[in-house]
Amino acid sequence: MSGKNGHPQERIGVYVCHCGSNIAGTVDVEQVAQWAASRLQHRGVVIARDYKFMCSSLGQELIEKDIKELGLTRVVVAACSPHLHENTFRTACARAGLNPYLCELVSIREQVSWVHTDRTAATMKAQAIVAGGVERVLHHQPLEPLRVPIHEATLVVGGGIAGIQAALEIADAGYPVYLVEREPSIGGHMAQFDKTFPTLDCAACILTPKMVQVGEHPNITLLTWSEVEKVEGFVGNFTVTVRKKARKVNTDLCTGCGICQEKCPKKVVDEVYEAGLGYRKAVYTPFPQAVPKYPVIDVANCIYFEKGTCKACEKFCPTGAIDFNQQDEILTLQVGNIVLATGYDIFDARRASNYGYGRLANVFTSLEMERMCNAAGPTGGKIVLRDGKTVPKTVGIIHCVGSRDRNFNNYCSVICCMQSLKFAHLVKERTGATVYNFYIDMRTPFKDYDEFYQRVLEEGTLFVRGKVAEVTDAARLPGEEGKLIIQVEDTLIGKQRRIPVDMVILSVGLEPRRDAKEVARKFGIACSANGWFTERHPKLDPVATMTEGIFIAGCAQGPKDIPASVAQGAAAAARVLGKIRQKEITLEPIRASIDESKCSGCRICNGLCPFNAILFHEDRMVSEINPALCQGCGTCVAACPAGAISGTGFSNEQILAQIEGLLLLNLEPQPA
């Protein structure tokens, strides 16, 4: 009937789930089961049952019993989405000694009972879906999962708090870690902060000990001032090429005494750590607590490299550690897993030109503010205007700069509300100034956050609900002269307001690293449209990626605060440890393979695999697929003009048969 001649040797069991009333409420499950038993008998169906809850242990036992007693060779379960219970029923089959991949779960809940209302139509569709499952399962092959040994070492990319956490967790568990950081020191953004919300403990105080631990940990090889150039291989055994940039300082000899920095005659505006508010030398460590303690020579600004003379640092170095001829080093690392914690960039406030940053002196960014509040910062913790002395009397803090804004980023940057509240508190505390917060919505979830909001409210900070239209110095009304005027519609009173202030703080949002997409390509993982790394599952698998053995943590995956970043770092570490402890891991056997006798070596498929799983043998002029690299997407299977590539689990035969099954009812006179 389906146009295929049957497979009489197969004995199929069909199990239709009521899911309480979830399915049975809309689909006549008894009718579906009876239909399958009668109309699909010639296709090999020997038993068809319906049951209240197939996924219950009783339901599973029902299947296991039939497999044993009726000698079923194939099982079709018509219930909920495979994403929920495919594994459940596969395991049940396995328990009864049937290869788990000879079981097919078809969804008549999400795809039928929950989305349709007409009982007859829904029942017919359910029958079609069951027929599709039966035709498909006839072509299933018993499969064995692939096993790959795991190399014990792990690569962590990014030395921010997330990366640090991940590295420490793994190292503490007793396994080697390579921590690669592109800046001269680890610490990331957190090292730039003053206080951390909501508890206001100082960032340095809680971060530095962790940084030191990393620096001293016997299991951690710290590679700062370094970048990953190439990643080859697959889960269990990646080969990673790292470029260790020349520090021009011999770290074996350097004691980190700091004399070179004192003596260096060249001052450079520090755009990175000091956010452009302060200076550093041409030879420098980003900050006093830097780990490692060794400085780097900034070749672009060093007088010696510009003019060929100076060498002050060399002269004064007590240990002769300065080495102007030092070259970049290329290291090759063998690792089994990789954690990407590459962090974020902050939104460039200049892009929101209506807020005047870069044009109006006293408009600051949140990062500048962090530095200004920091006791070790350029102003020694004093909050002053650009002139460096005037203390502001009124300060306006603008939320969502570059976030929740269709001109820039639609997403919420998560941390801005709390960061703004933190600044409101600090400004009040240190200057007694009047503080306005301009917000769209106040977002203070998570532990103790809203309490902090209440506290700031009580402190008398003013809140204006509305998106600021512009910040200008063009005074129109008395009292506005010499001030920055914030033009905003106060949506709570429904009025346009002009609020004159001395200082404006832009709470800028978070953005993916400029080179995030390039990095993703390098590691063979995906980015969302925005550029954040894509996790394997948004809810159920937030730190894994589609590429086995590569995990993500911290803001590289999306905006989040410090606790969340730390949690993800630890979670990624736990996932890695899990893999390491398995010694070898099993991969879903959904893989493509090439029949060499059919392969003509046309090389159509060669460029199609994003995981570089397809290699071409020039000598034999045939292509081959590396099963450990293959992720089973099946693109090459569909592309092969010779039909030489087949994909397990989703073979042409399976899918074509399912099509015929789904259309069986069209080909048949309708059952009365």
Binding site: S600, G601, C602, G607, A638, A642, N652
Partner: protein, 329 residues
């Protein structure tokens, strides 16, 4: 059961061009082997044949029948049934019998349209718009000509086929090889392949036999062969933008056309186990196009001005859809 003890051999053409017969004659000396090992009972090209005698033969008394040509009219169809009955081994010989070949392109239009067009050409003197009539009363009496089927069919659509021998026409060296095989089998020196197999062809596709150099493919433009000058004589044609069907076309011809600087047009049909030839090419070509924006993709696809012809040139009658929709209506 055979007059001279030799097994009986027959060859017949239905709607074909005769190229298959020429290809058989082109086995040259080997033709004498056929003469030596078979009693040729029916082969219109090489000898006067007697249908009467074929009908008179007991069923299954012809050992080997090479049937070429598609099924264009009801009489082709009846002939197919007759030879099926009389033959132990019925071979769909050549592209027409296997998959419809070029005449299968007729399945792009309704048969009435085909006839009308032929009788209204610029040189046709047909003021009254006459068309051939299946029944016509001439002054002296009734005249009959056969009606055409609504669409051209492959042999396998009409009768059960034992073996398929693709090619337009099948290469003579392949024919010779198959004849050797059958003769060897007769003498018990060889095994015939399982019924339903494709014989006299390779298992892979034309690229397998093509000497041209190949790289990872990225196509930024399709080009018409007359516009490409000079053509690189050693590089893969597809990589030069020429829509060469080689990657999807069964091997066995020794890549004749690509060797001669012409793109493969697909006369050997789909590779082993392929359900729809055109689909394979559509998928392969589209996969290696280097573009992501729909507009850009469409611009590149404009380089294939005749997709139906490009992808189903020889295979339309044997494809999943078999004919254009207008033919079904």
């Amino acid at each position: 059961m055979t007059s001279n003890g030799k097994p009986k051999f027959a060859m017949y053409w239905a709607a074909s061009c005769g190229g298959c017969e020429i290809a058989v004659l082109n086995i040259h000396e080997k033709i004498l082997d056929v003469d030596a090992n078979f009693e040729v009972v029916f082969w219109p090209v090489a000898m006067d044949a007697k249908y009467k005698d074929v009908e008179a033969m007991p069923d299954g008394s012809i050992l080997l029948t090479l049937f070429n040509g598609g099924i264009r009219n009801s009489e082709n169809e009846e002939m197919a049934h007759l030879l099926r009955r009389k033959s132990q081994i019925l071979v769909a010989f050549g592209s027409c019998a296997c998959e419809g070949c070029i005449p299968g392109l007729a399945n792009l239009s309704p048969v009435q349209e085909i006839i009308t067009t032929a009788f209204h050409t610029v040189s046709t003197d047909n003021p009254d718009g006459l068309l051939p009539q299946p029944e016509w009363s001439a002054p002296e009496g009734e005249l009959h000509i056969p009606r055409l089927l609504p669409r051209l069919k492959t042999l396998a659509e009409v009768v059960e086929v034992d073996y398929y021998m693709p090619g337009c026409p099948p290469e003579s060296h392949q024919i010779a090889a198959v004849i050797d095989l059958v003769i060897a089998a007769l003498q018990g020196k060889a095994e015939l392949p399982p019924k339903g197999s494709v014989i006299g062809a390779g298992n892979s596709t034309v690229c397998d036999e093509c000497p041209r150099a190949r790289n990872v493919k990225t196509i930024t433009a399709f080009r018409r062969i007359q516009d490409v000058a000079p053509l690189d004589p050693t590089l893969c044609l597809l990589e030069q933008g020429i829509p060469c069907n080689g990657p999807a076309t069964r091997s066995g011809c020794n890549a004749r056309c690509p060797r001669a600087g012409a793109q493969c047009i697909g006369c050997y049909g789909p590779a082993e186990g392929v359900l729809d030839y055109g689909a394979r090419l559509i998928s392969a070509f589209a996969s290696v196009i280097e573009a992501r924006e729909p507009e850009e993709i469409e611009r590149i696809l404009d380089g294939i001005p005749d997709p139906a012809g490009q992808f189903y040139r020889f295979n339309l009658a044997g494809s999943l859809l078999k004919a254009a929709r207008t033919v079904w209506k």
